[in-house]
């Protein structure tokens, strides 16, 4: 069966128990509520039930004043608009798809925790366009090398670690106009 994305529904990332019963969770839901990221881990039965409910209906026993306040916050957050493509944060929440590359800047505060939740990281360390300016090429090279260094140390590959450390030093001391070569 296909679940429509609320924000991002992701099939099992890690094995966890369902948050509502003790069956293994198969659905991991990351949701933005009242401006906060909430992670839910549900088994298939509870997930179906959860997804069939109206999105984020406030519990009835919630005091009226707080309810009003949080709804206002949520409204305010939802009404934020990307000046470039005109998408509101609410539309993104409903579709799970952004409107344009600029959204990553326009909604940065909201997206960073979401990205952290999805990927466990918020810094790219991989290929970069050959057309990127030298300074960012160098910056990426450093991020990539530092990440490799972390992995090497974790895996106790100390010779590799030493080699990577030298490479980092070399990039750091390289004159700006020379720009490192990118693999």
């Amino acid at each position: 069966m296909k679940y429509e994305p609320e924000i991002v529904h992701r099939l099992a990332v890690v094995m966890k128990k369902c948050g509502r019963c003790s069956k293994p969770a198969v659905l991991h839901i990351t949701e933005l509520q009242h401006g906060e990221v909430q992670a839910l881990h549900l088994c298939e039965t509870c997930a179906k039930e959860y997804l069939s409910q109206a999105p984020s209906a406030p519990p009835e026993e919630m005091p009226a004043s707080i309810e009003a306040e949080s709804e206002e916050d949520l409204d305010e957050l939802d009404q934020r608009v990307c000046p470039n493509c005109g998408i509101t944060f609410k539309e993104f929440r409903a579709q799970g798809r952004l409107g344009c590359p600029h959204d990553y800047i326009a909604f940065e505060d909201e997206l960073l925790p979401l990205l952290e939740n999805i990927h466990g990281e918020t810094e790219h360390c991989g290929k970069i366009p050959k057309r990127a300016p030298d300074s960012s090429q160098r910056q990426f090279q450093l991020i990539k090398l530092r990440s490799e260094l972390r992995t090497a140390v974790e895996e106790e590959r100390y010779e590799d670690a030493a080699r990577i450390r030298d490479a980092i030093r070399q990039v750091e001391t390289m004159p700006a106009h020379e720009g490192p070569t990118v693999e």
């Binding site: 992701r10 890690v14 094995m15 799970g96 409107g99 590359p101 790219h124």
Partner: protein
């Protein structure tokens, strides 16, 4: 490339020429890219979509990657032709069902597919037979460089390649390997494999990706995370884990033969018998029986049939292919009859009685 001729041939990746292709059907890498100056496809109006298509279409025609690429304007295709491209794994279901201007660049061998105006402006895919992720990466990396040479991708220093869905940003890479695991399914050991893979952040899906059922005991293993790790690191995670699954499947196959060779031989022979003789057969039963036969060939229990034929049958017996081969629209019951006839014909060509 001519869409009419597609139904009668098959992609290079089905020919079982790659490493470990008894179990690894195919290796695939896809990259998601967007042009910096346009909204993402779902937010782009008709004019913008047309402009995006024009830019990428002409760039795809211009690049030289060692393979001849043909561009097919998917938005002009009939539903049946689009469905056939989905069945061949050349476009996604989303791309087939989407609205507005869109297209795909496909190499003659069907190893390369470059979708324009899918969820992202550009979704590139390289597909190889067997366990061959390094080859996939080398090729797709080259294609990516060639396309980027004259275009500016949406890219942020911090977040990498920017994509319509935040689950793909960073590297925009999806590395996946399609495995045929019948023995692990029979013995229900497959559940343990799922759990182990989930623990290391890998996803398991069916033959046709997200939301699809595991048909014919095929499972697609792929990375979930795309940000914070390099392409090579993400590929290595998959490369490290696959050999364990392969030896697990092989161990269980050997044990099954050892325990009850006659029973297993009987089971795969019956599956083969039904496929050679059935007069009407559903897609589901076909997949199930083909899976048995495929394992039978690999265990030496069936010796007059080749793996590439079985691989092809998995694709050619699907609804759109059958209708394209028969040149007519067929209802489900008619398709089951056409499917049985097509399978009988394909398998008869190989039986010793006919030789």
């Amino acid at each position: 490339m001519d869409i009419e001729s597609l139904a009668h041939k098959s992609g290079e990746w089905l020919r079982a020429t790659g490493p470990e292709s008894d179990i690894v059907m195919s290796s695939r890498i896809r990259l998601a890219r967007n042009l910096a100056q346009f909204p993402f496809p779902n937010r782009a109006d008709d004019t913008a979509r047309a402009e995006i298509e024009e830019i990428l279409h002409s760039q795809i025609e211009r690049i030289s990657t060692g393979r001849r690429l043909s561009y097919i304007p998917v938005s002009n295709l009939e539903q049946l032709d689009r469905q056939m491209l989905v069945e061949r794994q050349l476009i996604s279901r989303e791309h087939s069902e989407n609205r507005g201007r869109r297209g795909v660049g496909i190499s003659d061998e069907e190893n390369v597919s470059l979708m324009v105006n899918e969820e992202d402006h550009l979704r590139m895919q390289v597909l190889h037979s067997g366990f061959a992720l390094d080859e996939c990466w080398a090729e797709i990396d080259r294609i990516d460089d060639a396309i980027e040479a004259e275009l500016t991708y949406a890219f942020s220093e911090r977040l990498g390649y920017l994509t319509a869905c935040p689950t793909n940003c960073g590297t925009g890479i999806r590395v996946s390997v399609l495995l045929h695991l019948p023995a692990l399914v029979i013995t229900k050991e497959i559940q343990k494999v799922f759990q182990a893979l989930q623990k290391i952040g890998l996803a398991v899906r069916g033959l046709y990706g997200e939301g699809s059922q595991a048909m014919g005991d095929f499972y697609q293993i792929s990375n979930q995370v795309t940000l914070g790790k390099s392409e090579v690191q993400l590929i290595k995670t998959i490369q490290d884990v696959i050999p364990n699954i392969l030896s697990y499947e092989r161990r269980v196959r050997t044990a099954l033969v050892k325990e009850n060779r006659r029973g297993l031989h009987d089971q795969v022979s019956r599956a083969y018998g039904i496929l050679r003789n059935a007069q009407t057969i559903s897609s589901e039963e076909t997949m199930h029986l083909l899976s048995s036969v495929r394992m039978g060939i690999n265990l030496g229990l069936i010796d007059d049939l080749e793996i590439p034929t079985v691989n092809e049958l998995f694709i050619h017996t699907q609804p759109a292919h059958l209708q394209k081969i028969r040149h007519e629209k067929l209802e489900s019951a008619e398709r089951n009859v056409a499917r049985a006839a097509y399978i009988r014909q394909r398998l008869a060509g190989r039986t010793p009685e006919q030789n």
